[in-house]
Amino acid sequence: MEKALEIQKVSQMFRTGFWMKPVLILKEVEFSVPTGSVFGFLGANGAGKTTLIHLIMGLRKPTSGQVRVFGLDAVSREARSQVGYLPERPYFQEHLTGEGLLKYYGALSAMDLSELGDRIAQVLREVGMERARKTELRRYSKGMLQRIGIAQALLHSPPLLVLDEPMSGLDPLGRKEMRDLIHQLAASGRTIFMTSHVIPDVEAICDQVALIQGGRLIESGPLSQFKARGDLQDTLESLFQGEDRDGEARHGS
């Protein structure tokens, strides 16, 4: 099966504090995401999920290893044009309207101006935001920001969507709407890579999962494999408890 995303022995180290002490955030993480799948990347807060997403988005290069998007080096412009990205907390220019924001990101993707207007209308319809297109982002609710964030990720029609905690901060109705939207996007043939730490969301949406703890990959594979063993919930709970202890130890040291 063709791979949308390949994470090959990726390690990431940061230097922190006054003495620039090295801290290893990701340790030889390796897995791949098949084209057309909805891939859930699970781990507790601080496990290294967002760091890996930054590597996938080409925002930084890994200390060692390789990240490849459809066979291309993730930091290349060609790779970035294949990916749409929704950050964990969608931070956008608040002074822009929904439509203005999409025009901006459309221009950054070097989209043809003649097609941009039609495409904006299309993605706004897709995420159910046509009525808020002229409203400034400062007036948007959290759910609306998530939706406009998805709209900007979809705008240049990328075959791979990377969604960092797309359900984060949403109320139950918002979560359901977001789930439905992701289902709809997956049905249109896109590969979706999303992070989460909410098991019911992952079970409802994903067909592939990978578990990460303390920067190390614990396991990856089809969701059915975990469901057959009936231990996804237990595995995650033990991982999260372990992560809390690891996190305390790392921050305490």
């Binding site: 930054h54 930084r60 970035r80 044009s81 002074h95 901006y104 990101y105 950054l108 070097a110 240049h156």
Partner: protein
């Protein structure tokens, strides 16, 4: 359906359109910033002080006082906007994490830096047009609609604008590796030293042979010489300026701006965001 006679071919290549898109959003962001208006109020106050001082002028003619204060207000407002807004331009994007989404698109960091700078440069241009307009009106009004403009006046206001553009590029450069407040401090230092390079050279000559002399000489050669952009004395005393001096000043200013922006693009490329 395509309308007859409509040409959808873009006017600019994609690489340039990306820079313009960043510039457009940056421009809109800056004109909503209260800091900009505080600086504008400051320059209006400086113009007003010029008018008051001209009424009390004894040694100099009142017209010269207005010329001097007006040019100072023009130079300071441009440089202050360049320094204060430029220092926060990239850091604000990093702090608010809006840079993550922008750079996840197929643009280079250098394009992003140029776009941010171009947005600020447009604000500086707008400020320069408004301030120069106010300055000209003041001069005309003060001279009973009888003020004669010289080429020196034109070049003096032009270089005041160029100085603001340079300070903005320096602020963007410093902000790629330090905090907003440190970037402001570095820029103010650069502005003060850059406007006193000849004094520094004189000191270097006086202390020639000593360690202090060597350091002063090296600094006076390495740091940007902003005296090229300050035609205040020439304007006040209506001196003519040689063409070679003007050509050198323009080329020097443009080269400095491009150098600082290139270095900023390079440093942002290396920065962990």
């Amino acid at each position: 359906m395509e309308k007859p006679g409509m040409d959808h071919k873009p006017r600019f290549p994609a690489a340039i359109r990306v820079v313009f898109a960043v510039a457009r959003v940056t421009f809109k962001e800056i004109v909503r910033d209260r800091l900009l208006y505080n600086i504008l109020v400051f320059s209006v106050l400086l113009f007003s002080v010029g008018v008051l001082a001209s009424r009390a002028a004894v040694v100099m003619s009142a017209e010269r006082v207005i010329l001097d204060f007006g040019l100072t207000a023009l130079r300071l407002s441009g440089s202050m906007i360049g320094i204060f807004v430029g220092s926060a331009l990239l850091i604000r994007e990093v702090d608010r994490r809006t840079i993550h989404v922008a750079l996840s698109h197929p643009i280079t960091r250098a394009q992003f830096v140029f776009g941010k700078y171009l947005g600020l440069a447009t604000v500086l241009l707008l400020n320069w047009i408004l301030s120069t307009g106010a300055y000209i009106l003041l001069l005309i009004g003060f001279n009973d609609w009888n003020f004669s403009f010289t080429a020196t006046f034109g070049w003096a206001v032009f270089f005041a604008g160029l100085e603001g553009l340079f300070m903005a590029s320096a602020a963007v450069f410093f902000s790629t590796f330090t905090t907003t407040s440190l970037s402001v401090i570095f820029c103010i230092g650069l502005y003060l030293i850059g406007n006193n390079i000849s004094a520094m050279r004189t000191l270097a000559v006086k202390s020639a042979g000593s360690f202090q002399g060597v350091i002063l000489d090296a600094l006076s050669r390495a740091l940007p010489n902003l005296e090229h952009f300050n035609l205040g004395t020439k304007l006040t005393y209506s001196l003519t300026i040689p063409g070679a001096f003007l050509t050198y000043g323009v080329l020097y200013g443009v080269a400095l701006i491009l150098l600082f922006l290139w270095a900023a693009g390079l440093l942002l490329g290396l920065k962990e965001i």
